[in-house]
């Protein structure tokens, strides 16, 4: 039943083919302009996600795989001091031996960056998963039941949004501890309101549709309608938001690192960059210590943003002012 209501772009399994098709359609439409001019091009333009999307996804997949497989990859131990070379003092610049160079303690930056990805991506993933679970649930319930409950939830969202995000993160991490769990959940709380608002708006736009009415007429109760009818419609466009939210959380971790409030144990991208840039002398003499993690962080955030943005256009997600 839900299939009918999804946006027209769902049944495409071959975006590359669609690319080719899309580039052909305007030419055809130009020739046969007496037949519904422009209509076909708009649909086609919406359907494709573009090659940039797949490059982004490939990069994200590579970083995620490297992070997961880090203990089994043939790379140096990130915490072990490498043997120093004769007549040369560490840190060593990038080269064939150390791809990203080494740091002040002569540790391999390449391996440290991969191990940093483990913590940074975990923070990002847990944060957005928390936001989706809590914010998504609250937003959907508020959008479905409306009334007093909706007003209450909306007020909570407004309160959460009226703290500048970083200030709330500072407050919580400063008062509690700086474990991986606390920081992930803190950033998760920050994503509750933005995610919740989209879930709410999107639920409202579906709640009065015919297929919901049909389901209710057939005797479905509220829980069933929410889970079986509304959830599939709300969750798919939210995947775009998940990618964008993950990028925000990964960046937020880096920001907290620069305030001395990031995860205490292990290395994160933020902490690696801070370590390379904490003194101007280190930055001048061994810029690779901060630039290597900066480049990896930049490419990852770029890929997450780009893939998320393409998906958002694809599913046409809007935070409707309802």
């Amino acid at each position: 039943m839900t299939d009918l209501t999804r946006s027209s772009g769902h049944d495409t399994d071959h975006p590359h083919l669609d690319d080719a098709a899309a580039s052909l359609v305007p030419a055809i439409a130009g020739i046969e302009s007496h037949e519904v001019p422009g209509d076909g091009t708009e649909v086609a333009a919406k359907r494709r996600v573009g090659w940039g999307f797949w490059v982004s996804v490939a990069w994200i997949a590579m970083v995620v795989l490297a992070a997961i497989l880090a203990p089994w990859l043939p790379i140096d131990d990130p915490e072990v001091t490498q043997p120093t070379r004769v007549g040369e003092r560490p840190p060593y610049p990038p080269g064939s031996e150390f791809w990203f160079g080494t740091d002040q303690l002569n540790r391999d930056m390449f391996s440290r960056t991969i191990w940093g990805a483990r913590t940074s991506l975990t923070v990002g993933f847990v944060a957005i998963a928390f936001g989706m679970l809590v914010g998504g649930t609250l937003g959907m319930l508020a959008g479905y039941f409306r009334g007093k409950f909706d007003q209450g939830v909306s007020f909570v969202f407004v309160v959460l949004l009226s703290f500048p995000a970083l200030v709330l993160a500072i407050l919580i991490t400063a008062l509690l501890d700086r474990s991986l769990f606390t920081i992930s959940v803190t950033l998760g709380i920050l994503s509750v309101a933005p995610v919740g608002r989209v879930a709410r708006a999107s639920t409202i736009s579906f709640a009065d549709r015919e297929f919901v009415l049909a389901s209710r007429t057939l005797g479905a109760k509220n829980p069933r309608i929410i889970v079986r009818e509304l959830l599939p419609n709300v969750v798919i466009p939210m995947s775009a938001l998940a990618l964008l939210g993950m990028a925000v959380a990964v960046v937020a971790e880096g920001g907290l690192a620069f305030l001395g409030l990031s995860v205490e144990k292990g290395s994160t991208w933020g902490k690696l960059i801070l370590n390379g840039a904490s003194s101007s002398r280190d930055l001048q003499e061994a810029p690779w210590m901060s630039f290597a993690p900066i480049i990896v962080l930049f490419l990852t955030v770029l890929a997450l943003n780009f893939a998320g943005d393409r998906l958002r256009d694809y599913f046409d997600v809007k935070e409707a002012a309802l």
């Binding site: 500048p164 008062l175 920001g255 620069f258 001395g260 840039a277 101007s280 630039f291 900066i294 930049f298």
Partner: protein, 319 residues
């Protein structure tokens, strides 16, 4: 009139909630007594210390229930009494610290926003006039890159290139330098904040401009012989600035967070440095005051946007 009162009431309610949450979190999760007395607070064996603890509790109202303390603190806060800095010798008032640090952060924010606006508006006009041509697509890719580089990373890159390699800017902020020299020291941090902001503004304004350019009155103006540039500047820009105003305010919140971080890279003793130092020393009133000032500024800013918005577009008031 009813609309204004409602908006004002909502803003005040919001500020009260934010302050209650912050104050409550600080008092329940933190240990104010420890912040005041240090290790003595935990020592309840020694009778001398018990006397000290009781005196401190009485002085700082810690013997009263939390809601009462909140009301007392709120009353003090509204009248400009932010408490004292426990971690400093002689316990100077927090307001001294704020008065010293706030202007620097504000300067940084104003500078960054001005730069972002002056970059983004001409850029968006140029992009919109060349919508979907290769140059416009390239500039859209550029905005993606500008947004994807986090402010702390951008700060490190800019510091390396312009302060270390080229030597155009000093490496740190010197509070005793003359005014213009201090302003110059703020330029690089302001650029750091302005670059992603400019990209955000450009993208939004470009989209709105393209929508506006498809309106009938633009066609009318063009057919009456108004030049392309005049149409862009005189006819299309103003009606396209609606969402720009909103994103400008929302982004100020993000910029405040960014300023706190960037200050720490460029060693500018503003509110960002102050809150980091206060957290390290567990100086509770300082953290509380800074969080409250920033949140209050944010709420008030949003209220101002609502007001400006309803002045530009009266339909908002009716809704």
């Amino acid at each position: 009139m009813r609309f204004w009162l409602q908006r004002l009431g909502a803003a005040i309610l919001l500020l009260l909630t934010v302050s209650a949450l912050t104050f409550g979190a600080m008092n329940i999760l933190g240990d104010p007594l420890f912040n005041i007395l240090g290790p003595i607070a935990g020592d309840t064996e020694n009778p001398e210390n018990i006397a000290l603890i009781e005196a401190a509790e009485a002085e700082y109202n810690l013997d009263k229930p939390l809601p009462v303390r909140w009301v007392i603190w709120l009353g003090d806060f509204v009248t400009g009494d932010f408490g004292v800095q426990f971690s400093e010798d002689g316990q100077p008032p927090v307001s001294d610290l704020i008065a010293e640090r706030l202007p620097r952060t504000l300067t940084l924010l104003v500078m960054a926003q001005l730069m972002a606006v002056f970059i983004s508006i001409p850029w968006a006009l140029w992009s919109a006039s060349k919508a979907n041509r290769p140059v416009d697509r390239a500039s859209t890719v550029l905005t993606f890159a500008m947004i994807a580089l986090p402010n702390f990373a951008l700060a490190v890159v800019l510091k390396y290139v312009f302060a270390i390699q080229l030597g155009w800017f000093p490496l740190a902020f010197t509070a005793n330098d003359p005014f213009w020299s201090r302003m110059w020291q703020m330029v690089l941090p302001a650029i750091t904040l302005a670059i992603p902001a400019a990209a955000v503004y450009q993208r939004l304004l470009r989209t709105d401009l393209i929508t506006t350019l498809q309106e009938d009155f633009i066609l009318t103006a063009r057919s009456k012989g108004v030049s392309r540039n005049a149409v862009l500047f005189k006819h299309a820009l103003r009606p396209s600035l609606f969402s720009f105003v909103t994103i400008f305010a929302i982004n100020t919140g993000a910029l405040i967070g960014g300023a706190l971080i960037v200050e720490n890279v460029f060693l500018i003793p503003g509110l960002g440095r102050a809150i980091v130092e206060a957290i390290l020393r567990e100086d509770f009133p300082v953290v509380l005051a800074i969080v409250m000032i920033v949140s209050a500024a944010f709420v008030i800013l949003n209220l101002l946007v609502d007001i400006i918005y309803s002045l530009i577009d009266p339909r908002v008031r009716a809704a």
